[in-house]
Symmetry: C2
Subunit: 460 residues, 2 copies
């Protein structure tokens, strides 16, 4: 019995990396393949990416194409593209042939046009045609996520034909796992679907049309959100995908939708942290630095704008230098409060529980949290400032500024992603910097203007 | 033909919320059910959560239990629990009976012990026993994610028995969609699995043992990461789950694993933003404020520690007040750079591409990005400070401080999540505050100590 416990896990003490390195240097393809195949895929990919670029290319050129295909599929898209681009055309074609057609289309779509054409020319003609057809659909739509192969039969087919298909040795059968057979009319439109139960309880000579039911179909341009909803609502493992004219063009599996949703959540989480694109440490330094700097340079401009508020109040600051201690604290705390609200809105957006037009409701809900938390944090920091610097009025200035700025930050934080989405900007990338700039400016202004007003009490 | 386009989508101009409110006030259960059933699930849930608490309870008590179950399953776990807790015991039992056994166990496990027992007592005895059994497994393991029902047959069964099972009208068949039939021995251990192809190409009288192959099994305590790996590696739609003694205890579906991974990614994204627990705006104000404050109060203490560095240099600051303008900028920019590194490490952790023991390699990789970006940002802000305040030495102090602090922030940001994971802390919750405190302190110290050293040049 093949038990999971027989699958090797990298334990402390067993030097997988070292053993792999030895095998790579010896060009011992059998040992390399057994080692990589024996590891969980993510571990195998990590070991592969830890090798030097030359060794990595050598390994992917030597190991069985199915294993190479699994490793490349496990990698995030941009890393996968990089791995494929470095292979010879023949080898790349051989590996890509092992992938499902939706993954093939993603891979080919991400390559340079010239590389892509060369690989397609080296592939099986039918597969290449499928890939060309799939490449025309947008990522994150039913068309972009579907497999080109469908398990479909003409209206004239019998139950026996389907059962023979299911029982055949055709490897393509594996691709239809869990999919139902679709019946298509002369125009290529799906007009029926049959259940396994229907097939097993009917005579082999019965026409499929006698046991088919109307299929639920999905349009090729349906976006990911809609697809997630659909699979949440219906228990199907796959759905037929149709063009605007009703023609069947592919089959969409539940797992392709789930995988796309997970990838989107992960990339969105990165964007909130200021990483645009799906960076991995195995990418070249130049690309990693450049991508991060692009976001940081925009941020530095916003920071300068916020800091100009401090510059305008240098006299106040010189008179009560203790305030300088609290400026970063007020702006940082407000930024944190606001980011919590951004996080909740981003989550509700991804769950479909909130839409741009709900901004007012969100604002009301967040403002109340802002008031409660603003009062609590304001009192806390006010007491700290009073005790630390020995001046109750200073405590009042700082506490009041933080309280007001928290209300502002939380209300704005909840609404900013919705506003950005409404104007067609990516809320994950821009919400944080925009929020922080506003709350920094407001925080600096509140502390310094309150301090200016109460100057006699502060310097007394 | 049931076409997706016939599913109502909330268009601008159609006031779904208003219409639903009218139907709720009229207690028009048919209209309410048709409206909610016609919407995509996430939209229907949003409309439900937007109702007053009393109306929400009334709707869930009136609509068909299958629809109520779908809506509750669509909600994030804590919201789902809240919705169920407010229902009568009988009604809650009726709705929960409609869910799959793994979801049932999650729901029951999250309720108060007393509520849970009352609902179990009101449920079908067999279902209740399954739930009790499943509740003993930990969340996020194969046991916690599996369904209690398996499609299993004794070693003595024939091909005909399986085909009759597949063809039966038993509603439970739906639960086995895509699962293969397992053959279990007298001790309840899975000893074989048969393929549909095998079933269709064999005589009905053939014993299952003649066509079965050894199954790949998964241990009930296998964690989510391992399960994701397994389904990435093998194309199965489901796997048999066994106890330590080898007994078959349930069936794990690919889609349960995918769904758990997505939920984990979303909740982890929220934690990085300072939201612990899966907050939605439909939750009570008290809970939302308290949860956010818990994290913020810890953060305020860290902020005070960082600000104390400024306090120690008040003389320097008074002498060169222009520095106060740049203090928040240096700390904020470093924090952003560090958070980018945190984001990449969190992603690599979730993809299994990095482990705590890889900290040194990560540190080397990040340090190089830190040096490149530190030099770029340092030059940029140095020039800004020079031009703005008209003093090249001030530009040098600020630029050098930002450059050094960026290297520090990026290196620490990459390693902090690994260190936290190593000592058993949640990297998503603690990485941000820990990183920010360190980079704030270091940033303030670098700016102010460099300024102290170069004081004659700055005030000259």
């Amino acid at each position: 019995m093949e038990n999971l416990q027989t699958v090797a896990k990298p334990e402390d003490g067993i030097d997988i990396t070292g053993q792999l390195q030895v095998a790579v240097e010896a060009k011992d393809v059998e040992t390399i393949s057994i080692m990589l195949d024996g590891l969980p895929l993510s571990d195998a990919l990590r070991e592969l990416l830890n090798l030097s670029v030359a060794d990595r290319d050598a390994v992917l050129s030597m190991i069985p194409p199915t294993l190479a295909a699994q490793l490349i599929e496990e990698a995030p898209q941009s890393t996968a593209t990089e791995l494929v681009e470095r292979l010879s055309t023949m080898r790349a074609a051989e590996i890509i042939e092992e992938m499902d057609s939706d993954i093939q289309a993603d891979m080919i779509g991400d390559l340079d046009h010239k590389d892509a054409e060369a690989i397609l020319a080296a592939m099986d003609a039918d597969d290449a045609a499928d890939v060309r057809r799939l490449s025309e659909y947008e990522d994150g739509t039913a068309g972009g996520l579907m497999a080109a192969e469908t398990f479909s039969f003409p209206e004239t087919a019998t139950v026996g034909a389907v059962l023979r298909g299911l029982a055949s040795e055709d490897d393509d059968f594996e691709r239809y796992r869990g999919q139902h057979p679709y019946i298509i009319d002369a125009d290529g439109k799906p007009v029926g679907v049959v259940s396994l139960r229907g097939l097993l309880t009917s005579k082999r000579s019965a026409p499929l049309t006698s046991i088919m039911v109307e299929p639920l179909v999905v349009r090729a341009d349906a976006p990911l959100d809609e697809l997630q909803d659909l699979f949440d609502k219906f228990p199907f493992l796959g759905l037929p995908v149709v063009e605007a004219d009703g023609r069947l063009v592919g089959a969409l599996s539940r797992s392709a939708v789930d995988t796309a949703a997970l990838e989107r959540a992960q990339v969105e989480g990165l964007r909130l942290q200021g990483i645009v694109g799906d960076e991995l440490r195995s990418m070249p330094l130049g690309i990693r630095s450049r991508r991060r700097l692009a976001w940081l340079s925009a941020n530095i401009v916003l920071n300068i704008i916020a800091a100009s508020v401090i510059s305008a109040y240098e006299d106040t600051l010189t008179a009560v230098i203790a305030i300088a201690v609290f400026l970063p604290m007020v702006s940082d705390m407000s930024g944190c409060s606001g980011n919590q609200a951004v996080g909740v809105t981003m989550r509700e957006l991804s769950l479909g529980l909130v839409r741009p037009r709900d901004a007012f409701r969100v604002w009301m809900k967040e403002a109340s949290v802002g008031v409660v938390n603003g009062i609590a944090l304001g009192i806390l920091i006010g007491i700290v400032a009073w005790i630390w610097k020995g001046n109750p009025w200073l405590g009042m200035v700082i506490g009041l500024a933080l309280a007001l700025n928290t209300v502002l930050a939380v209300s704005i934080g909840g609404v900013v992603p919705l506003a950005l989405k409404r104007i067609g900007q990516d809320p994950a990338v821009a919400s944080g910097p925009l929020l922080t700039t506003i709350t920094d400016m407001a925080g600096f202004f509140l502390v310094l203007s309150l301090a200016s007003m109460m100057m006699p009490l502060l310097v007394g």
